[in-house]
């Protein structure tokens, strides 16, 4: 029972003027930073080592400042006047395809810009300290700036093609950053895996772009949102499913989820920025932005809901069994994005909450990832939680900020995560009880594994390796932690007075659920109880018992499955990799033994004939004379035949 909105909002922007004419600068600053840092790395490397990271940080901060200014400007406008477009130049004009480089600024974009530039800048500051000992730091900042520029392009584009440009750009940046430590084979392999799996999703998005052109004659949101109502419903369903495929790739939803845990090979700031706060949320952005498509197709929305529900449970189960702190957090990210997609799939009732959860998740997940990086920094870059324990005394600031993030994610009342997750569970229960129950279950499991993580890292006894001296991180790393922790706590304010639903209504529309079966407060209560149960289980199983230093081998089937990412890799291998390999081997064999054999066989045949025929050349003049006689015979016969016939 997915509610259909009566009126789907259309994209109807006015031209940018005044302060909004600075829109392009938001993208241009980090893009320039990327250019300078990457090209300059070859031209003036020594200078870059000195101030490269500073430049790389200041430029995103500049973008943040402009985003903030524009956000305030937008707030000052009337509600119906909050969509602005800036046309930069005519990009592609081929035949009937006319794509412009247009930037759209509306409430949805404004929130994303603040998230990307704000959290991004904090992570840039953090990276100054985290990557201090890496001699390729300028290049790292270059890649980070490139990512920020591409992500900004993604959320600011007014048409699908520009979005796709940004989409591919963030994919590239992700590849470069995951494999930043190229000398590590595992990092290079993980980068490749991420890129390849993303490519599958990209096929969906690019096909959708082509479909848009064929159906609507344009890829612009304005044009499509105006004429979406006239299109064939099957086309709309196809469109929606293709967009979903693209979103699955980028947001690590089932079935394209296998790359996310491997992506933790990259440096921790990368995991925080790309694989927690921003890039992986691009899929959610895509679905929400395309609400004018999804509102018209039940089937696609149902698909979104199913994918989201499966993923939120999948990610949660994986997160329970991981001993690597970053992989546990990655499983958590997968699960939380499942929540966001669930919100987005529930239609106009849930878009706003999906975005709300996206923002709060950006705060607390980035916070926790940076905290994990801080812990690793103090533990000689060891990621195994079985070697942690009792770190709250040694790393007090990290512990406190991490705890804020932890409380937010489990949905402790009052913290930002509580408000956002709660709203999604409410909407889910109202729409479909099964989905709602799964969402509740997911919340409980979240409580379990996050508590397990906290206990193993900061509580329980010391299980440190020899010559590990845990120490707090420098200020350049802890200050971003503090800022993000504050946001994790206070982020819930966005819901105050229904501000966020109202703010996003011009873009997504909003439907209030009329008379839900279970009152909102009851849902909240049940949710808190479920989470508490999860937390208690974790304390009982992990906190009270001794944590073994080596992972125990005889564990339950579920644990084994969870350790193996619920056999996600095995499924991919079996369904895709192995058949492809067989096909390739088969084709190669076909090529060498059949097609090549035709040619080598021809050559062999000729040489075999030669071997037989050369016996004619026995060197004896008389046998040559016999051959001549044979020839003469033939000629005479021919002559006679011609002349007497």
């Amino acid at each position: 029972m997915l509610a259909l909105h009566e009126e789907i909002p259309v994209v109807d922007p006015s031209t940018a003027d005044g302060a909004f004419s600075l829109l392009w600068l938001i993208i241009a600053l980090p893009l320039a930073g990327a250019a300078i840092l990457l090209i300059g790395g070859a031209l003036f490397p020594k200078a870059l080592k000195v101030w490269g990271h500073v430049l790389g940080t200041l430029l995103p901060i500049g973008s943040f400042v402009i985003s903030l200014v524009l956000f305030l400007q937008l707030m000052g406008r009337d509600e119906g006047d909050r969509q602005v477009v800036q046309h930069l130049y005519d990009w592609i004009q081929v035949g009937q395809l006319d794509v412009g480089m247009d930037l759209l600024y509306d409430p949805l974009t404004s929130l994303f810009l603040l998230l990307i530039t704000g959290v991004g800048s904090l992570i840039h500051v953090y990276s100054i300290g985290y990557m201090e000992h890496d001699e390729r730091r300028p290049r790292f900042f270059g890649y980070l700036n490139l990512f920020v520029a591409a992500m900004l392009m993604l959320v600011m584009s007014e048409n699908y093609l520009g979005l796709f440009l940004g989409w591919e750009g963030v994919g590239l940046a992700s590849y470069l950053l995951i494999g930043f430590w190229q000398h590590k084979h595992s990092a290079a392999a993980a980068a490749k895996k991420a890129f390849v799996i993303n490519r599958v999703g990209d096929m969906g998005l690019s096909t959708a772009v082509m479909l848009a052109f064929v159906t609507f004659g344009s890829t612009s949101f304005t044009v499509i949102s105006h004429s979406a109502g006239d299109a064939d419903s099957d086309v709309m369903t196809a469109f929606g499913l293709l967009l979903l495929l693209g979103a699955c790739g980028k947001s690590a939803q089932v079935p394209l989820q296998a790359w996310l845990l491997d992506a933790m090979e990259g440096p921790t700031p990368v995991s925080a920025l790309i694989h927690a706060a921003t890039m992986v949320t691009a899929g959610v952005y895509l679905v929400v932005r395309s609400n004018f498509i999804f509102e018209l197709t039940d089937a696609a929305r149902t698909a979104v809901v199913i994918v989201a529900t499966v993923t939120l449970l999948w990610g949660a189960v994986i997160g329970c069994a991981k001993d690597d702190i970053k992989k546990a957090l990655a499983g958590s990210t997968m699960s939380q994005i499942g929540y966001m997609m669930l919100g987005a799939g529930l239609g106009s009732a849930g878009y706003a909450f999906a975005i709300f959860h996206l923002l709060t998740h950006g705060f607390f997940k980035a916070n926790m990832f940076l905290g994990a990086g801080s812990v690793m920094h103090g533990m000689n870059d060891d990621v195994d939680m079985r070697h942690y324990g009792a770190l709250r005394k040694m790393l007090p600031v990290t512990f406190l900020t991490f705890a804020m993030g932890y409380l937010a994610i489990i949905g402790f009342p009052g913290f930002s995560g509580f408000w956002s997750k709660d709203k999604i569970i409410e909407v889910a229960l109202a729409e479909n009880p099964v989905v709602g129950v799964c969402a509740l279950l997911g919340a409980g499991i979240t409580g379990f594994y996050m508590t397990r993580l906290m206990l193993m890292t900061f509580f329980t006894e010391e299980r440190w390796e020899k010559d590990v001296h845990p120490h707090e991180s420098p200020k350049v790393m802890t200050i971003p932690l503090i800022v993000l922790a504050a946001l994790s706590v206070l982020g819930g304010l966005m819901l105050a007075g229904g501000w966020i639903e109202e703010w996003l209504e011009p873009v997504t529309g909003f439907t209030e659920e009329a008379d839900p079966a279970i009152p909102a407060l009851a849902v909240t209560g049940i949710a808190i109880l479920v989470v508490a149960a999860g937390v208690a289980t974790a304390i009982a199983l992990v906190g009270r018992r001794e944590v073994p230093r080596e992972a125990p081998q005889d564990v339950s089937l579920v644990t084994r499955a969870a350790r193996a990412d619920i056999y996600g890799d095995a499924i991919n291998d079996g369904l895709v990799v192995e058949p492809s390999r067989q096909l390739t081997t088969g084709l190669v064999t076909l090529d060498t033994s059949v097609i090549d054999k035709v040619f080598t066989g021809g050559a062999t045949t000729v040489s075999a004939i030669g071997v037989v025929l050369r016996r004619l050349q026995n060197g004896f003049v008389r046998s040559y004379a016999a051959s001549i006689l044979g020839g003469v015979l033939l000629v005479v016969l021919a002559l006679l035949a011609v002349n007497l016939a």
Binding site: R614, N618, F620, R622
Partner: protein, 97 residues
């Protein structure tokens, strides 16, 4: 008339077979001469049949050329004989596979 041509054909065939069968180089050469003579006979017979002397001129030229050819050919055979001490055709069989 036909009988002369038939005789010429028979002589030619015998000469050809001789080239294939005999091993002494000089005898092979003699068989070649036999073939040439058979052709000469045909020429002369046809000259008489056609009623002009072109055939006889042709036969005449054949004789002249045969003479020149025999001179050079025998000189070659002799040279080979001097170096190899053998006049058998089968001995020069190095151009083989």
């Amino acid at each position: 008339m036909t009988e002369y041509v038939v005789l010429s054909a028979i002589l030619f065939t015998i000469g050809a077979t001789g080239v294939l069968v005999r091993r002494n180089a000089i005898v092979v050469f003699m068989c070649v001469e036999l073939m040439l003579n058979a052709c000469n006979l045909a020429f002369v017979a046809f000259a008489r049949q056609h009623g002009n002397l072109d055939g006889q001129i042709a036969a005449f030229f054949v004789m002249v050329v045969a003479a020149a050819e025999v001179v050079v050919g025998l000189a070659i055979i002799m040279t080979i004989f001097r170096t190899r001490r053998s006049a058998s055709v089968d001995d020069a069989s190095l151009l083989k596979y």
